[in-house]
Every structure is written in structure tokens, then in C-alpha cells.
């Protein structure tokens, strides 16, 4: 990948033919991908979506000893409040608070002042500068300010070139941060690269803490240490990266971009595996890693024990024919679908914020199902979901990021995995436990569903769900 010579990451649409608007069957989408020219669609009516800025902030929030400067009008920084208070209030941050005059006269002096202030006030080891739409449109010079102060303060100051409009899908924001981290923090291949440690790089981008803890537990069981990055990492984790045995993905959709870059820079292997969610995928993930190190027998022992207990746990559980609506990012969606089908669930429909060229294999599996599963691609866009849910009447709804009010309104119990650890073997217990509770006592969602919701027009609810998804005219 020579992407890293560039100022910032390519958008997902270009790199992976990512689609963020589609509703229909899996066959059509698969055919388009296979023909080599997937049609970009757009919505002629749309509801609000996340931009790369929120994705970027979410990732950066977990990195240690940092300060953040949001470079833009004050409003561009308020989602920081959410990450600050909901996850970690030790991250220091400021906004340049650009006003009309700054947007005309240029904003570099304010950026310089903001960086100076956070450096003086908090002595961070690392400063991130998050750019915003106004700065991007005005083409304000961020790099030269950063370069100048980097030298003066002798710490990394990393510009993250988010802009809110380049990509149609917010997840590009992860790539923008990852690009910046690799460009600025990963040391060039050193001469001491022969001093290999007994650890692997575990590439985590968006997972929650307990999920990573579970995966680390498994790897530790076979005597393997991990270097987790970039999530929950500090500067030392980046320095250590080059001494790893190899790198492994947690979520392949997110880990691929840095995974390949690290592999190319240091000449070692990047192992990309399906996300370890559910029993099969977890065992596969674990085995594949063990294989590389000739630790298969050790892993096998642990897998046998874990799956034995899980098998007993799942023994009397009956989920046959229960209909579930899945609204998750692709890696999670495909993994959880696989697991839920194994224990008897029927998938009534799938919604994902995006899909891309990496998912053809999984699409193929879905396309081979006897009953066609409708697939809706798009972040947010609850209006389309309501339209679909109205017709499908699922009994359970699994989502993340709380896009779920509408399922509550329809009287369907909801499982939100944003804070529920679902990875590894422990994740299976967590997920099953939640599913059982929701199905056992759905009284609150039933109670709420009596609330008459008049938001969407009858006219719309009677239309086909893909009415506002059209081919993009170039």
C-alpha cells in the first residue's frame, strides 16, 4: 500500500468499493460486485448520519496521555462531550471556536494558540488536531502550524484530516485516524528488528474494553502476550509494534488498513480473520493464531474445555424459529447471524451501515439461503427500517449505538451491543443471557408499543422500502 505517502487515507468508496445505500436481496448486490462495477446509489430522502469526525473522536478517545484540539466552530466539538463523559474524562481537549471572521481571514493563528494552550495546560505526550468541514473547505494550512510546533515542543502533534463530506460513510473516519497514526507514530524499520518479542500485535479499532480483555485472556492461556493498538494504546505500543511476531485483526473491516501497512513496513505477517463472535468463529480465530506459532495442541485443549461448558450451557435453550432483525456493522452482523442461525434463530432482515468488496464470501453464503433475506445498507435511515419492520414483524432486534428506539416503539425487545461484550467464549454467555431475558420478559417494549407513533406518513409505510434509493447520476 503506498497510501501512506499521501496526506490522508483514501475514502472507502475508492479503496473497497464501499456501498452505503442499498435495499434489496443479496443476489443483485453480489452480482454487481462480481461484475466488477458496483453501482453507487444515493438517497433522495435521507436522515442524519455520523460523519468521519465522530468516528475519529471515538477512536482517539481511548489513546493514552493525549490532548485533542478540535479545529472548527464550537459546535463541531460537542460530540467530544459524549465520548468524554460516557467513556473517559481524562482526555484533555479544546476547540478553536472558529467564527465568521476566522473563516474569512484564516485560522492558523488560532490553531497555533490552541495547541500552545493545551500543551502548556496539560503536558500531553501527544496532541491530535481534528479538522472540520469549514477548515477543509477554506483549505486552511494546518500542516505548517503543526510542523512548526512539533519541533518547538518536541512531542508528536498529529493532524487528523477529517472533513465531514469526502466519504458517504462515516467509518472512513477510522481510516483517517489510522492513516495519521501510522504516518506519525510508527517508527521506520529499524536495524534491531531481529530482536523479536514473544508477542503479537492485536489490532483493535472500536471494540469495547471487556471484549478485548476476553481475547487477551484466550491468547494468554497459550502463553502469548499481546500488544494492543491503536485502541487503549499509548506511545509505547506504537514503538513496540515492530518487534511483534505478527499482527492479528479483531474486526477485519477496521483492522485491514493498518494491518497491511504494518505488515509491509516491517515485513511480517498480518493475519486477517473473521471477528471472533460466536463459538465457531472464536474457535477458528484462536486456532488460526495458534497455528502460526505451532501451538495448536495447546489451543485445542482450551477450545475443547470452553466449548464443552458452552455446549452444556446451550443444551436446553430453545430458539427454534424465532425471528430476529440484525442492525450491526458488517463484521459483527455476519458473525452474529452465523451463530444465531446455528442455535435456531431465523434472520428476518439485515441492516448494515455499509458493505464492501471484503464481504463477498459472506454475501454468497446469505444468497445460498432457501428463503431470501432482505438486506438494507445505510447508517441511521430509521424511516426505511420502520417500513421494513412493519412488514416483517421480527421478535427480537439486535443493534449497536442505540439506533433502536423504533424497535422499542414497534414493541420488539432490543439488545444493544455497544456496551455488551459479545466477543470470545464469554461473549456467547453474555449474548445468550441477554437474549433469554429479552424474550422472557418483553413487557417494557410491549408497554411502550401502545404509544401511537405518527412520525412517518401512511403513504411512505405502504411504499417499497427502496423507494428513495436511486442510482447516482454522475
Amino acid at each position: 500500500m503506498d497510501f501512506y505517502k499521501h496526506k490522508t487515507a483514501p475514502i472507502r468508496e475508492k479503496r473497497l468499493s464501499t456501498v452505503s445505500a442499498y435495499y434489496g436481496d443479496t443476489d443483485t448486490l453480489l452480482k454487481e460486485y462480481k461484475s466488477g462495477s458496483v453501482n453507487q446509489r444515493i438517497r433522495t430522502f435521507s436522515q442524519d448520519i455520523y460523519s468521519d469526525i465522530q468516528y475519529a473522536l471515538q477512536l482517539i478517545n481511548t489513546i493514552k496521555d493525549i490532548a485533542i484540539v478540535v479545529h472548527g466552530p464550537s459546535g463541531c466539538s460537542v460530540s467530544r462531550l459524549y465520548f468524554d463523559l460516557a467513556f473517559d474524562d481524562s482526555v484533555k481537549w479544546a476547540v478553536t471556536n472558529l467564527n465568521e471572521r476566522d473563516s474569512i481571514m484564516g485560522s492558523d493563528s488560532k490553531l497555533r494558540e490552541a495547541i500552545r494552550q493545551v500543551f502548556k495546560a496539560y503536558s500531553p505526550k501527544l496532541i491530535f488536531v481534528i479538522t472540520t468541514p469549514v477548515v477543509a473547505i477554506n483549505n486552511d494550512d494546518v500542516e505548517s502550524v503543526v510542523d512548526e510546533l512539533k519541533e518547538e515542543y518536541n512531542i508528536p502533534i498529529i493532524p487528523v484530516f477529517t472533513d465531514g463530506f469526502r466519504s458517504k460513510t462515516g467509518v472512513s473516519g477510522y481510516d483517517v485516524v489510522l492513516h495519521a497514526l501510522i504516518k506519525n507514530l510508527l517508527p521506520e524499520k529499524g536495524v534491531d528488528s531481529l530482536s523479536k518479542g514473544n508477542f503479537i500485535n492485536l489490532i483493535s479499532v472500536s471494540e469495547n474494553f471487556n471484549d478485548i480483555k476476553e481475547l487477551v485472556r484466550l491468547l494468554n492461556e497459550i502463553g502469548l502476550q499481546v500488544n494492543i493498538l491503536p485502541r487503549f494504546s499509548g506511545l509505547e505500543n506504537f514503538t513496540k509494534t515492530k518487534d511483534a511476531l505478527f499482527s492479528v485483526s479483531v474486526n477485519p473491516d477496521e483492522a485491514q488498513y493498518p494491518g497491511i501497512a504494518i505488515a509491509e513496513r516491517y515485513g511480517f505477517h498480518y493475519l486477517q480473520l473473521p471477528i471472533p463472535v460466536g463459538i465457531k468463529n472464536t474457535s477458528f480465530w484462536f486456532t488460526e493464531i495458534a497455528k502460526v506459532l505451532n501451538l495448536e495442541a495447546e489451543a485445542e485443549k482450551i477450545i475443547t474445555e470452553e466449548t464443552y461448558h458452552l455446549g452444556k450451557y446451550l443444551d436446553n435453550k430453545k430458539f427454534e424459529g424465532k425471528k430476529v432483525f440484525i442492525n450491526l456493522p458488517p463484521a459483527y452482523a455476519f458473525g452474529i447471524i452465523d451463530f444465531l442461525e446455528d442455535i435456531g434463530f431465523e434472520i428476518s432482515a439485515i441492516k448494515m451501515p455499509y458493505i464492501d468488496i471484503q464481504h463477498l464470501e459472506q454475501l454468497e453464503i446469505l444468497a445460498s439461503h432457501k428463503t431470501k433475506i432482505p438486506i438494507l445498507i445505510g447508517e441511521g435511515q430509521v424511516f426505511e427500517e420502520v417500513n421494513i419492520i412493519n412488514q416483517l414483524k421480527p421478535e427480537l432486534y439486535i443493534s449497536s449505538k442505540a439506533d433502536n428506539i423504533i424497535a422499542i416503539k414497534e414493541g420488539i425487545p432490543v439488545i444493544d451491543i455497544e456496551t455488551l461484550p459479545v466477543l470470545g467464549y464469554k461473549g456467547v454467555y453474555n449474548l445468550i443471557d441477554k437474549i433469554e431475558k429479552k424474550l422472557y420478559n418483553p413487557s417494557f417494549s410491549h408497554y411502550l408499543s401502545t404509544n401511537n407513533d405518527e412520525v412517518y406518513s401512511v403513504n411512505w409505510l405502504q411504499k417499497k422500502g427502496n423507494w428513495y434509493i436511486k442510482q447516482e447520476v454522475k
Binding site: T44, Q47, P73, V78, S79, P133, N138
Partner: protein
Amino acid sequence: MSQIIHKNRNGCALHGALKVMGAIEGIVPIVHASAGCSIQSRLSENTLSGKNGKYFKGWRETSSTNLTEKHVVFGGTARLREQIKNTVKVLNGDLYIVVTGCVPEVVGDDLQAMVKEAQEQDFPVFGLGTPGFKSNIYKGYEIAVSGIIDNLDLFYRNSDQEQQNFVNILGIIPNQDLFWEGNLSALEHIFEIIGLQTNKLFGLGQGIKEWQAIKNAQLNIVVSPWGINIARHLQEKYNIPYIDFGWLPTGEKDTSDLLRLVADKLGINNSEILIKIKKEEERLKYQLQKIAEHYYKYDFQKEAAIVGETSIATGIARFLKYTFGLIVKNVVITDNPGEEVQKHIIESLNEDTGTFTKVSFLDNGNEIDNLLLKSKPELILGSSLEQSVAKALCIPLLKISSPVYERIVLTRNYTGYNGAVTLIEDISEQILNTLQPEKLKKDYFKTLQFNSTNQVRLVSIN
């Protein structure tokens, strides 16, 4: 040059406008902006303002053009046309309002032309410019409220010009005021005491009809600096007088003052009303008398610092200082009111010659933290952002202003006579929670015994 803000707690004009529109039945905002703009508002609103976020009539998700690079280069006007046309088809509503973010403003999209086109098709649509780089959340509130008042006539004619027996409440910003819904109900309850109806404008059952009725009110009551311009505008346009009370009343002094002021202005100040007010005052005193024993036993008379917007911080500070006897050392006002208002707040928090209350006007989280750390209060009333300081000082924090993460607020409020009781209940819980349990004290002495052979170290117990 506008200042750099650390730990910024205030959104932009677009967010202020969306908060207004999210709390009125039948109003559907159409956001013309790049992706993320309305999510910024939603993230800070749903989770950080008592979690009672935009749930109104079910919609949280907002119609939005989500402008992309193409629109930045070639303009987004056509995209807006399409979005307006389809929003009226998908979302039920009585009034559709286009609000703009920074991108279309910089690019120069023709908002008014698109709105005019829609109006020609008889759709009830109008547009308001609310780019974040031009103004803040409080201005956004003003723009939205005056915008709705001024444009409503275009679509909904109201022949009835009779003045009726009610007042409008101006200055409460839904979801920026953590307790907005409770505060409005509390004010409604207070004015009932003197036989007045209240036009709340926001919340359950508040839609186009209530907004049409604004011009028939007898009086406007302004409870924050951000309602004054609207009140002046209504006076000029419809000849409605107003009372600028400045903040929300908490406790006997301010609530009774407000009631007497209103009664005076409306000429209903008779002995019967004075008796009713007296009765409410006695009820409040009865409740506060009940805790007197604990007030002294556990020393409730703390040195307090209060951080929040004018509307919430000033009234609470006055009650705690003038009635509850706290030593209110610092009040930090976070919504940047104008100079005149600032002077008024300082004066009303230093009416007696006794303890001096320092009033600061800051929105910079770092400066607020430093001020609190330096002044070392024993109790903070503020937002979740003050948590780190409260932790560092090992003192209780009662969350009364946005942003708040750890608290669910549905109908709770600290307004009026009853609100004062609720406030004291909440503060007491915070203070009692920090008392050292007897068990820990025993453990302390145990440690001392164990160490008795060594040099006894003095360990401070907090």
C-alpha cells in the same frame, strides 16, 4: 477574536435551533448540512441532558441532506430541493423548517429560493440560517423561536386576536436546560396559584396551536437572558408586555416576588392572592423546618460553588444563600450573557453586606476547573464536567446543568416552592453520602493499633 474553549459545553446555533424544534409537536426540521452536524447535537442531547433527549412523538432521527464533496464543489441547492420535496412526503408534520449548517453557508447555497419553491407548492416550509460559525446555541434558540413566531402566519391564519388569561414562558431552552420539562410544569403550577394559565410552548401537547396563541397572551415571562429579545419583539409586534425576571425562581423569596410582580402587572394583586402566596410559603417553611435538626447535626452549611447557565445557577444560588444559609463563594455563569445582565446577576447575588459571592462568566472548562480548585468549595452544584474537580477535592457534586451523563431527568425540577424542597432533598443526599461511616472509623483505629510499635503515622480520613 473569539476565544479558544477547553471542554466546551455549548453547541452552535444549529444545535440550539434543533433543540427548540425537537420539543414542539408537529414541527419537522430539515437539516441542510454535511453529515455529522445533527448527530453532534443528538449525541450531546440524548445522553447528556438527563437522557430525556429528543424522543418527541417518536422522532430522534432528523431529515438531513448529508452534503458530500460533490455538493461542496458544485453547490447543494438542488439536493436541498429534493430533500424538502421528499421530507413532506415521508414525515408527518404541520410545519417544516430548513436549518443550515456551516457548509451550505460557505458554499453559498440559495436556501430562500428553495423554500419559496416549496411554498409555491403550498407546503408549509420556511428556512432559517443557523451556521455554527456565525452564532452559538443560545442565539440559535432565539433565531428558531422568533423564526417560528414570525413565519407561522404564512401558513396558519388566526383571526382570534382576543387577549386571554394566560402567560407565555420565554427563555427555557429544551435539553440545554436539563430540567426544562419539569421547570415548565413547575411554572405552570406556580401561576395556577394566582389563577393564571401558562402557555408552555415546549413538551407534551405543545404544538402549532400553542404557538399561534402566543400573541393572545396577557404577559410574557422571561426566565433567562435568551428570552429578552423575543419578548421585546412580541411587545413591538403584538403589544404584549413582559416581565424580565432574569432566571428561574427557586424557593420562597424569588417565587413570591415573581408572583407579586405578575399580579401587580395584571392588576390582580388582591388580598385573596396574597393569602394564597402566604399559604405556599408556609408549606415550604414547614418542610424545611423538618430537616433543621440534621442541618446542624451534620453541618449542611457548606461553602458552595455553583456552575451553570444564568437561568438555573442564579435562582438556585440565591435560594441557597438567602434562605438555606450556605456560604455561596463562587457562581460560574456559563452562557455568556451580555454586560448589563452580568452586572444585574452580580448585584442580585450580593444583596446583603455579609458573605461575598464571586460571580464569574466563563465557558472555558479549564478556567472553571482552575477557579474551583483554587477556591476549594465543600460542595459543587454543576455539570458532569466538574466531576474531575469534585473528585480531586473529595467533595460532593450535585448535577444541575448540562452536560450531565450520570443522571436521568424526566420531570424533576428545582423551580418554585416545591422545587426548593426537591433541591434540598437532593443536596442532603449528596452531603450525607459523603459522611464517614462509623465502620471505617473503627478500621482506622485498628490500623493505628497495628502500627503502634512503629512510629504512628497520621492518616487523614476524608
